[in-house]
Amino acid sequence: MTAHPTGAAGFLHRFEGLRRRLPGARLPYVEALRAQAAEAFRSQGFPTRRVEAWKYTDLRPVADAGFDEALSAVDSTPDLPTAYGAARAVFVDGRFRTDLSTLDGLACRVEGLAAALPGLDGRLGQLARVEAQPMVALNTMLFEDGLVVTVPAGVAAGVLDLVSLGTASERPEAFHPRHLIRLEPGASLTIVETATGPDEARYLHNPVYEIEVSEGATLTHARIQQEAARAFQLSTVYARVAAGGTYDNFTLNAGGRLVRNEIHTVLAGPKAACHMNGAQLLRDGQHADTTTVLDHAAPDCASRQTYKTVLSGKSRGVFQGKIHVHQVAQRTDGYQMNQALLLSPEAEIDSKPQLEIYADDVKCSHGATVGEIDAEQLFYLRARGIPEERARAMLVEAFLREAIEGVQDETARAALDAAVTGWWSRQEAAA
């Protein structure tokens, strides 16, 4: 076997080798998107910490790992995580597996992206910005599959599970699924997403989402990131919310070694709303970054962001939250809160809120706190007979609860609750 080129060159090398065989190779629009993305990735490379948006997250561990494209056997039958909805779409190493998926019982169209490509001209790549986000360029260059969901106008489609499984292999693999989700006017859908992999697996999961929420539609998007301990996940979500629509994103970062959850939401029509909430639960050696960019681009929109990070051992958390209130966006109601709970003196949190306000009639607040477990509260619980470890777990869960309670959809909230409850005891057991 020849030496594997690493870094951006490694990916570009593989793109050259694979480009004729990648899905959509014969579709001119796909070919053009990939070529443009390759150019963008070639000129930017992996972002370094000199790039403002990547100031706190160093991608060298990702760049330095030599990745293969995923070559997992399509007949592997990995264990599936708990189901939350009646329908579920399963991806293994980034490939849509119809044989493992159950899609009847869902009142909307769900397809694999590779198969749907001929009909996606004009939709694919509409929101993603390869020239600004190198990881999105990488995704566009090399995506092999993804989920395409279309909920017709007025339809309440119910709950769809989106499962992503990474598998163990000799060399680390990279997969770059591209998911397109569209809710037509007045439609609603809940997606509960679980991304995970077996302990020994090493992979890069680099998904990109393009989400369109039309007038009066509501999408709940609960993302439970429990990737394998040595895996990387770098995800980018683009959401565009039309008048009266709601996008409700909750991202739980609990797994992986180096993780970034980047969300770009545009409130594009009057009275659009978004909730971007999340929690990061980090143990020794983990790095997790939540970066949100929110554009208030229409009047009378509301946004709520509550992010909570719990850090133990030598872990590092990052929160960057930018709110851009455009001049037309009068009567914007924006709220952003970012709180960290440090359980160890070696843990570190970086937090960078950024408000840019160009409208004059605006209510926008933000805040950030960093604290430790409150000694008084801990003593109160112990004085009632509750053992110290259990008492600490109760206080950690209480800290996270506020963020989870912001999730309106019950199924999504229950899924998140289950993922959070017991995190402490699992991490204690692992320590």
Binding site: A375, F379, Y380, R382, R384, M394, F399
Partner: protein, 263 residues
């Protein structure tokens, strides 16, 4: 000396709590300057004393709060070395402190809190744990007896509770955990007259040969409802006087100046 007390109820007359020459510092400042106190099983003792005399400090030291350096003396609880135990072990052994300032726990539901505490103590006593339904049944009885609305179970622990509600919540916890020794640190402060009666009934209901209490208060009024076997005066980090219920009445009339003169 055994580390943990066995669960057999002590006989009336046996010493439940024995404090000998206890001295303790907070941040290098000596607060307890040699406390000697014995509470026999089945008795209720009141502790009175001016602000800042060390009453709460004593109750925290007895329940194991961090931040106090014990520089001398010994404390036994039913013959066991109390000071060597963790706070949760003390609670499991039957010690209960009703806090002067109950702590708010945002995000921790009161029902979950109470059930976790009760089950932790039950487990330590070798009793079966209660499931949510069994717990609710027990809790409802206690709530009713203390005239507390069931809503309180659904709220965050002490979050947004009025001063009086917090104190009632302390007494609810005491009623559920059924301690052997209850230390009530100004549980009467902030209670209206009706609540004072209800809380007192809650304490009196626990009166038994195997139950003792240390009632810290500034007001003789409480002692009309919970009649103590003894009244101690704590001043300047020491017990300076001990008497019967009449001592509280005397203090109410003439204040602590007379004690100082006598001490």
């Amino acid at each position: 000396m055994p580390r943990r007390s066995e669960t057999a109820a002590p006989d009336k007359g046996m010493v439940m709590l024995k404090i000998e020459g206890l001295t303790a510092e907070v941040e290098g400042k000596q607060i307890l300057k040699g406390i000697d106190l014995e509470v026999p099983a089945g008795e209720i003792h009141a502790i009175m004393g001016p602000n800042g005399s060390g009453k709460s400090t004593l109750s925290y030291v007895l329940s194991g709060r961090e931040g106090y350096e014990i520089t001398g003396g010994a404390v036994t609880f039913n013959g066991v070395d109390l000071l060597a135990m963790e706070p949760e072990e003390r609670a499991a052994a039957g010690l209960f402190l009703a806090f002067q300032y109950p702590v708010e726990l945002p995000g921790v539901g009161n029902a979950l809190f109470l059930r976790t505490a009760l089950n932790a103590v039950r487990k330590a006593r070798g009793e079966p744990e209660l499931d949510a339904m069994q717990f609710l049944k027990v809790a409802r009885e206690r709530l009713k007896a203390l005239h507390i609305s069931e809503d309180m179970l659904k709220r965050g622990v002490n979050v947004g509770f009025s001063g009086g509600e917090k104190k009632r919540n302390e007494v609810l916890q005491m009623a559920l955990l059924a301690p052997k020794l209850a230390i009530l640190d100004e549980t009467d402060s902030g209670l209206d007259i009706d609540a004072l009666k209800i809380v007192s009934e809650g304490v009196n209901a626990l009166r038994a040969p195997g139950f003792s209490a240390l009632v810290i208060t500034h007001y003789q009024r409480l002692l009309d409802y919970i009649v103590p076997d003894k009244v101690h005066v704590l001043m300047g980090g020491r017990i300076v006087q001990t008497g019967g219920p009449e001592l509280a009445k005397q203090l109410e009339e003439s204040g602590y100046a007379s004690v100082q003169a006598a001490a």
